[in-house]
């Protein structure tokens, strides 16, 4: 029985033991924050003293890149830092903070440019932000996608939250709606993380779809080869129950790639433990911390870090992940789809990807050279 998701609940669900903590010398992980989102060192220390008793951990951020504001801590930033340091326990953590030094700066673009200008960076980055694809220019998204390739060839793993509006809804015309993909979640060169809930919210049970979990098909990026067969399998399995074809681009990059719990978290913010925090903002740092931990073990064995994860993740075909097969996510509230987007199914699906991590099995699978 539990009253919400804490580090020990996550570690129990994903089979992480007290020994699953970082120890490599040259490993680190990072979260990025944009516009007036600050974490508080005091909140982090309190969070770890309240919830970090069962595993070795760090209680301080290793490095802040950028300038933290002096205002109140933000829930988003607190959530990211507290949870990446709970699964990626004892791994030095960086916080990129981009408050927008000039009013004309784009904080996300500034982070992207920083990546191109720093030779030593953490291997894993989690980012819990995004925009609707249709609100951005194609030229911008294509170029940012190239920036993600630049990060990938350097061995960096970039994990983005899949969004919190399910398949989303775009009122294209008065008569016609379609689903609304989110970028950078829809980039083929990042790993996108969706969300799940416990079947029984007060017990460590199996997981079902979190109805807010973002997912779908890009209208900008074509489907990459690494996922073609997984997506084809899904489309075949659920052919009879798919939303109308006019709602999504069946040949686009499909996301998310995997998922983790995204519901009912406890976060300490401004010295107060806050319950019921939800969203793929929560699941993304949880997964990021685990990959940072796997990098840690690989580095200890003299192996290269995992880098861009998707080609290897899709080759696992769901091995080492808990498949999520129950539930559907949100979409347009109209006559045709009646508020329902895609539904989870055995193997990969556009709601929870391949499923949620079974840490020891994932470690074993990804420790091979």
């Amino acid at each position: 029985f539990h009253l919400g998701v804490t580090p020990s609940v996550l570690r129990a669900r994903y089979n992480m033991t007290a020994a699953d903590v970082g120890s490599a010398q040259n490993n680190s992980q990072a979260v990025a924050q944009f516009l007036e989102q600050y974490y508080s060192p005091a909140d982090l220390a309190e969070f770890m003293s309240l919830y970090g008793g069962s595993f070795q951990h760090l209680s301080k951020v290793d490095r802040v890149v950028g300038t933290q504001g002096t205002g109140k801590a933000g829930l988003e930033a607190s959530l990211d830092v507290e949870y990446i340091m709970s699964t990626g326990a004892s791994i030095p953590t960086w916080v990129f903070t981009n408050p927008g030094r000039h009013e004309s700066q784009e904080p996300f673009l500034r982070w992207v440019v920083l990546l191109s200008n720093m030779s030593d960076l953490p291997w894993v980055h989690t980012i819990s932000y995004g925009d609707d694809e249709d609100s951005l220019s194609t030229a911008y998204m294509q170029r940012i996608n190239t920036e993600f390739m630049k990060a990938g060839v350097r061995g960096l793993s970039l994990l983005f939250a899949s969004g919190d509006s399910g398949a989303g809804c775009w009122h294209m015309t008065k008569e016609q709606n379609s689903f609304r993909p989110s970028f950078p979640a829809s980039s083929p060169y990042v790993t996108t993380v969706g969300g799940t809930s416990f079947k029984n919210p007060f017990k460590v049970t199996y997981e079902v779809t979190d109805y807010i979990s973002g997912g779908g098909f890009s209208n900008v990026f074509k489907m990459p080869d690494y996922q073609a067969s997984a997506v084809a399998g899904y489309l075949k399995t659920v052919a009879a129950t798919l939303p109308p074809k006019s709602y999504f681009n069946v040949s686009g990059r499909a996301y998310p790639d995997m998922a983790a719990l995204s519901d009912n978290y406890w976060v300490v913010v401004n010295r107060v433990p806050v319950p019921w925090v939800s969203g793929t903002s929560a699941s993304t740092p949880v997964v990021g911390g685990m990959f940072a931990l796997i990098n840690d073990k690989r580095l200890m064995k003299g192996l290269p870090v995992l880098g861009f994860l998707n080609p290897r993740l899709y080759k696992l075909k769901g091995q080492a992940l808990f498949d999520v097969t129950e539930g559907c996510h949100l979409a347009c509230l109209d006559e045709q789809v009646q508020g329902q987007g895609f539904c989870s199914a055995p193997a990969w699906d556009p709601v929870t990807g391949w499923g949620t991590p079974n840490y020891p099995e994932l470690l074993t699978a990804l420790l091979a050279p």
Binding site: P107, L109, S116, S135, L136, I212, V305
Partner: protein, 172 residues
Amino acid sequence: SGYLEYDQNVLVPADWTRVGRVNPTEKLELTFALTQQNVDVLEETLRVVSDPDSPQYGKYLQLEEVASLVRPSDVSQKAVRSWLQSHGVTNCSTVHTQDFLQCNLTAEVAEVLLPGSKFQRYLRDGHSIVRSSAPYSVPDDVAQHLDFVGGLHRFPPRGHKASKEMHRSDNT
């Protein structure tokens, strides 16, 4: 022609309020994304270093190697710099990969440099930003050397933290 981001949405998100035009002398920082070389090679390199079945798996590049791969051509760099200099924009910094130029300039100069742009100030929860309310363009001979100019249109991205409390109370 010259509209690098012809399909960019210039609608103001509902939670931001337009306050008015910025003073012509106000300083802006714009980011010029120069067209890169060898993007196809970069993509193929990413494929082989990320594919566990490839002999190149895990053989990652250093930042310097990435820079030599994608660095914009001399022609592109010269064209963009000359164009900026011809408008008196010289306070610029670049990055290792030389594919971004971040320049400081006044709103007045920016509006001449980027025809169509109109810089306005917007407010949300006491936070102020400057963006253009109209699409910008660049001269045709520069357009081929730039992917986009940052600092004109995109509002800060949203966080992905769900407000489930409302759903919960609805359900209750």
